[in-house]
């Protein structure tokens, strides 16, 4: 339990909660509130591969088995044009960790955190203001949201138990009806999650987003531009759009372009590899583009192609793994830079496919989802499948499995090769 209540920004969150609750509760009888609670209990087992990076498991301490109890209350308080959303999270985990010397230990830890806590003020039909810890995302693609440079991809985000960590955002939405939007977002305070680019410190960052939707809501086009005054986030321009030529068919794109790259790349220095920001001063324009095709009939299926110009080549990745695993004067600095290089995805080209089949079975209680991500760059891939079953009004049972293929110096093959999760969600 050593990590219990370890959230560093808790005092700030506490202040926001208390001030917001006191302000809103002063509205008395006109205050409305809605509460919900989800409890997740699940077992997760991993079959770990022989890794090149941290082969003894002394650094990452990846568990081969975990049991998790995760409470997720969700509160909404409303008065007039004000809304307060409070989503705390309280998780307990028991991990079983194995090392290559045969030692096995179990470790229990827990934490209390907030996924979201924000206050929203609808000032008029046109203006809306929001401040707090929140998850605000958009985009038609399933895998990435390149036009949103503030929130980055996580390998776990497709999991059934994933919760996107909130960001401390100040946001203004200017709406002209339901078709036109102009949105300004500023990330003002560090949310204390690991830096996206290793070694960089937080500084405020922001973006503006402009969007148009057709009257029937099926086609839309958005443009973004953003950046930071500091070197922890590159300035970018982004675009996203969806077009539906038929009711069940849509094609879409989500992209961003940057000048140069702040990401770390492996460079040979003598006999060693050092991770360096090699393209920092480059004037070349690089793109991260995700294009997709979606068919939604009885089954919801997608296929997406991702082009990541600033990603690693096969040779780059092999070198980066070498830099993060071989003894050298640069090893201590290489490892964090390899883990957090400032890239949404490591490789340059991917194919992604997913299929979702809801309402299966005679009583329509089952939902099945299958996904595959294939790195064209190094031929590694990850397959995942999940099945969910409704069990009465309060319970959802779920089973999720993933399998990674590829050599242990490839992007998707180098951590673990198989994972199984089974559990339940209990809702009140």
């Amino acid at each position: 339990m050593s990590g219990f209540l370890k959230h560093k920004s808790l005092p700030l969150i506490t202040q926001v909660v208390i001030i917001s609750l006191v302000s809103i509760s002063s509205f008395g009888d006109n205050l409305t509130s809605k509460w919900g609670l989800d409890w997740y209990g699940y077992y997760e087992g991993k079959n770990l591969n022989d890794r090149v990076v941290d082969p003894t498991n002394q650094i990452f301490e990846l568990p081969y088995a975990s049991v998790v109890s995760d409470f997720r209350p969700d509160g909404k308080f409303s008065f007039g044009s004000f809304d307060l959303r409070v989503q705390p999270r309280w998780e307990f985990t028991e991990d079983w960790i194995g090392y290559t010397d045969g030692a096995r230990v179990s470790k229990a830890h827990g934490y209390f955190d907030f996924s979201q806590i924000y206050l929203n003020w609808t000032a008029s039909d046109i203006f809306m203001f929001s401040f707090g810890l929140q998850n605000y995302q958009w985009g038609p693609a399933e895998m990435l949201s390149p036009s949103n440079g503030l929130i980055h991809f996580s390998t776990s985000q497709r999991s059934l138990i994933w919760v996107e960590p909130g960001h401390w955002l100040g946001r203004i939405n200017i709406s002209f009806g339901k078709n036109w939007s102009l949105i300004g977002i500023e990330e003002l305070i560090d949310n204390r999650k690991p830096a996206w680019i290793a070694g960089s410190s937080f500084s405020p960052r922001g973006l503006v987003k402009f969007e148009y939707r057709t009257d029937d809501g099926t086609n839309y086009l958005g443009m973004t531009a953003g950046g930071s005054g500091d070197n922890n986030l590159q300035s970018w321009v982004g675009e996203y759009a969806t077009y539906s030529p038929l009711e069940s068919l849509s094609i879409y794109i989500d992209a961003r372009q940057v000048r140069g790259s702040y990401a770390y790349y492996p460079e040979t220095v003598g006999n060693f590899v050092q991770m360096q920001q090699s393209l920092y001063t480059s004037n070349q324009i690089y793109g991260l583009t995700e294009t997709g095709l979606r068919y939604e009939g009885r089954v919801d299926s997608r296929i997406e192609y991702i082009q990541n110009d600033i990603g690693y080549t096969r040779e780059d990745f092999t070198q980066a793994v070498r830099g993060a695993s071989q003894l050298s004067p640069f090893l201590p600095t290489n490892l964090p830079k390899f883990l957090h290089p400032g890239l949404e995805l490591y490789s340059q080209h991917y194919l992604y496919g997913s299929i979702r089949i809801p309402d299966l079975g005679k009583k329509k209680l089952y939902t099945v989802i299958a996904r595959c991500l294939y790195s064209i760059t190094d031929s590694s891939s990850t397959y995942s499948a999940s099945i969910q079953r409704i069990w009465g009004d309060y319970v959802n049972l779920f089973l999720e499995a993933s399998y990674l293929t590829g050599e242990n110096n490839t992007e998707l093959g180098f951590i673990n090769e198989a994972e199984l999760m089974a559990g339940m969600r209990l809702s009140f």
Partner: protein, 245 residues
């Protein structure tokens, strides 16, 4: 003289009849209003009770609707609580706690059972369909006009509707929803035990819609409409960028 008198009376009868018979558009406009259409906006709670092959399910939602747009929040059962559906005409967006971003879903996906999305949002038959009065009929002792409605565009919930409207109150009492080929998909009846204040007047408002699958009569849904009130909803309420996640 007798002949002239007879023609005069006949003319008077025809004239009276033509004045008394309202247009299809007027009937639809009036009937829509009591189902949430042609208002500044409507807020209501609904319960959808679905019977599918003997399996009974109940789901509750709170709805804010205006024209072709609706913001729908699931309130029960617990496993669905907090799920949000935003209808922008034929486009539908789905959000739920923990979901990374809003996901667009096909309008073909229904919220529950036989209830189409168009049954949950406000009704706008006068805007979506070309109507024609084809005959009059008595339904449970009530005089009705029978209207044949044909979709003006492909993107509406149903291709064709046969609609029985009370000739006195102008309330829709019964409907058959048909395919383009004229095959009946579903049948529905309506009850009006609610009232709302509209422009200073209390008007009857839909309280229940019973829907039965035309092929499998065991499959049915009952939508109960509760606490309806006319409220002006700004268009920006139905902008997906403004929906709290």
């Amino acid at each position: 003289m007798k002949t002239r008198l007879f023609f005069s009376i006949l003319c008077l009868v025809f004239a009276t009849t033509s004045v008394a018979a309202p247009s299809a558009d007027l009937l639809l406009k009036d009937s829509d209003r009591s189902r949430g259409g042609n208002l500044k906006g409507i807020t209501w709670d609904i319960e959808i009770k679905t019977e599918d092959d003997g399996e009974v399910n109940t789901r509750d939602f709170s709805v804010k609707a205006k024209g072709v747009d609706a913001l729908v929040e699931a309130t029960s059962p617990a496993r669905n609580k907090g799920e949000i559906f935003l209808f922008n005409d034929r486009a539908m967006w789905f959000l739920k706690p923990g979901l990374r971003k809003p996901v667009s879903i096909s309008a073909r996906q229904k919220l529950s059972g036989q209830a189409a999305n168009g049954d949950i949002a406000s009704t706008n038959y006068v805007g979506d369909y070309d109507g024609k009065i084809t005959k009059t009929e008595k339904i449970d002792g009530v005089d009705t006009y029978v209207l044949e409605l044909k979709a003006k565009a492909k993107n509406v919930t149903y291709d064709q509707i046969r609609y029985w409207i009370n000739s006195t109150s102008h309330l829709g009492v019964k409907a058959e929803f048909l395919t383009l080929q004229g095959m009946i998909l579903k049948r529905a009846t309506f009850e009006y035990n609610n009232h709302i204040n509209h422009e200073g007047q209390s008007i009857p408002f839909v309280s229940k819609m019973n829907i039965i699958d035309a092929k499998f009569s065991k499959n049915k849904s009952a939508i109960t409409y509760m606490n309806p009130k006319e409220e002006a909803h700004p268009a920006s309420l139905f902008n997906i960028n403004n929906v709290n996640r």
